[in-house]
């Protein structure tokens, strides 16, 4: 395979020169390209916000001419190396999953593989995602030892009070204190992260998530206008406030006889909803759809009038943007970064309590009955302009450009930073660990020197096999059009 690609590559090079004049029509390549490695425990086939963020961002970066690879852990039989659309290369590493799709961390056992991949793919920037992902933190740690530039994106909010958050926050402090740049998805998230990890706010940027507006288009004909349908699409877990939902459903169903609920998603809290349904005999009015594929979400959304989000904590809620893009009136809890996401005329914000949410929903229903809601097309055309992945990629690229100009802290300074920044006990422990990791890296370099590692054949990036094909195809279509 690889060679065949190589062959194509040569062929393309020979044909590029005459038609260089067309190049300005292509997505403008920035002056410098990076070899970016995205690391996270969460990636497809797992479903969620982080997963689609990584995928879409990577696709847009590839379009802008960067080389992007993704490292995640193996999902059941999905092990090894796979290529996705446009030559996005994904390493599914055989690491043991510990809890909630997150790998166990020992800080060292993943190092040989990660180092091998970083070397063979000639990675220049390591971009880790999600603070829940142990693998992301491991990769940051190793990348810093290997003197690579690091970027971290935080996708979630966290408390400060309970034991688990105290521990996680300490870990985050250690992990982020010498990271080059941090990206948050909303200003609330930025505040939260800066506080938790005691960071300098200057190295924290805010780049929101985005949705693909072409995937989420309204379709009012699918609605059943004789009834009012409320749609909930989320994983059925505690964080998403399913207990609140189980309080809302019976109250409102008693009040409005033509009210229906559609709940999409799967999780441990599903049983709560099933019990509510059985206790109040609501089988015909509450539909539980179970796990949804990403492409089915839109078909579920367009069946409803009102979208309800009951999250208890949320950094940036992609679900409400998707719903608004489908033209639904959104009712949501006022937590985390949600107030920043949509303008006030598109969303009804409530406190995270059953009563307040019921009031919000009643308000939405009365709007709906009086016909004072905006029509789905208008909502869609408004939302369409807010968040696009191209924009996200552009802004992320700027972060990369900035990071590429910075220096990675050398070992001595790194130790100083760890000890001064993370408290005497933790700092010393992690300083010791980073010294051990440095020695381990030395040992690995002695065992398999860098020159023995075959450089991988690029799939994407300036010399990538896929890029050539992609550009050639574009050029052909352009030529045929003109």
């Amino acid at each position: 395979m690889a060679c065949r690609r190589g062959g194509n590559h040569k062929h393309c090079l020979s044909t590029t020169s005459p038609s260089i004049s067309n190049c300005h029509k292509l997505p403008s390549c920035s002056s410098r390209t990076h070899n970016i490695c995205m690391v996270s425990d969460f990636f497809y086939p797992n479903m969620g916000g982080v997963e689609s963020h990584i995928y879409q961002l990577s696709q847009c970066l590839i379009e802008r001419g960067h080389k992007v690879i993704i490292i995640t852990h193996a999902y059941e039989d999905r092990k090894g190396i796979r290529y996705l659309t446009n030559g996005l290369k994904v390493y599914y590493l055989p690491l043991r999953v510990m809890y909630n799709q997150s790998t166990a961390t020992t800080l060292f056992h993943s190092m040989p593989l990660l180092r091998y991949i970083f070397v063979r793919e000639r990675v220049t920037i390591v971009h880790a995602h999600s603070s829940f992902s142990a693998m992301a933190h491991d990769a940051l740690f190793h990348a810093k030892t290997m003197q690579l530039r690091t970027v971290f994106t935080d996708h979630s909010l966290f408390g400060f009070a309970d034991v688990s958050s105290v521990l996680t926050n300490k870990l985050l402090t250690v992990s982020l204190c010498d990271t080059n740049h941090i990206i948050c998805v909303s200003y609330t998230s930025k505040e939260n992260t800066v506080l938790r990890a005691t960071l300098d706010p200057k190295i924290v940027s805010v780049i929101p998530n985005a949705v693909d507006p072409t995937d989420f288009t309204p379709d009012p004909s699918r609605r059943d206008n004789s009834t009012i349908t409320i749609v909930v699409v989320s994983r059925l877990v505690y964080r998403k406030g399913i207990d609140l939902l189980s309080g809302i459903i019976p109250d409102l169903c008693q009040k409005y006889p033509n009210l229906h609920f559609i709940v999409g998603g799967e999780g441990p809290k599903r049983i709560v909803l099933e019990e509510v349904r059985e206790r109040y005999q609501l089988h015909d009015r509450v539909r539980l759809l179970g796990a949804l594929e990403h492409q089915d979400v839109r078909n579920v959304l367009v069946q409803g009038h009102i979208f309800l989000n009951t999250s208890l904590t949320e950094a940036f809620c992609m679900a409400i943007v998707e719903a608004a893009s489908c033209g639904l009136q959104v009712v949501s809890t006022k937590v985390g970064g949600i107030p920043e996401v949509l303008p006030d005329n598109l969303i009804i914000l409530c406190d995270p309590s059953v009563k307040s949410l019921c009031n919000g929903l009643e308000k939405a229903i009365s709007h709906l009955k009086s016909g004072s809601l905006l029509s789905p097309e208008i909502i869609h055309s408004q939302v369409k302009t807010f968040y696009t992945w191209r924009n996200v990629a552009e802004r992320t690229e700027k972060v990369y450009d900035r990071v590429a100009g910075e220096i990675v802290l050398p070992m001595g300074k790194r130790l100083d930073r760890l000890i001064s920044h993370c408290g005497p006990v933790t700092g010393c422990i992690f300083a010791l660990l980073s010294v051990i990791s440095f020695l381990f890296l030395m040992f690995l370099r002695w065992l398999t020197p860098d020159y023995l590692i075959d450089a991988a054949i690029d799939a994407t990036g300036p010399y990538g096999a896929w890029t050539q094909q992609y550009f050639r195809k574009k050029r052909e279509t352009l030529n045929s059009n003109s």
């Binding site: 395979m1 690889a2 060679c3 190589g6 092990k79 090894g80 190396i81 390493y91 590493l93 055989p94 040989p112 593989l113 091998y116 991949i117 063979r120 398999t448 020197p449 023995l452 075959d454 991988a456």
Partner: protein, 184 residues
Amino acid sequence: MADEEGYLAVSGERITLQRRHHSASCREFLVRCPRLQLRSLSAVTCSVWLVAYGLFVLCQNSVVLSAAIFVTLIGLLVYLHFVKIDQESLLIVGSLGIQMTSSYASGKESTTFIEMNKVKDVVINEAIYMQKVIYYLCILLQDPVEPHVVSEVVPLFQSSKPRLDCLVEVYKSCQEILEQNKKS
């Protein structure tokens, strides 16, 4: 007819690739691994015996010593006969098929022959192996019922694991023969 070149294996060992062109549609590739080093052999033997001697000093039982001798002998036999592969060869005959042979250090040979109508393609693939990500050459077998489905992947040069530059050489020659075969 036959030319020989030195390459490196993934582990850094020196291997030699020998190419023999028997005819236009028949080629043979031999990958020769380094032979068993006297140095490593004596090191292992000495360490086993030293450990045995240590045990003997501790428990004053001479059975330990004789057991150690047996263990080294049997271990060496097993290693030479079942583990250590000296040479791997790949024979492609355009009209017949592909034959893989691995010769063990003891002289034992194990051969597998795949008929040409079962071979879908020969490709270079990537895999995660131990704590490494390596390239390897493999044969894709066709599913007998659905011709577009790959039913099995047979890796080549499994024990020597040559690096990419060596694999590309072999790959190109294989593709030439496969192309010829497809044309006719």
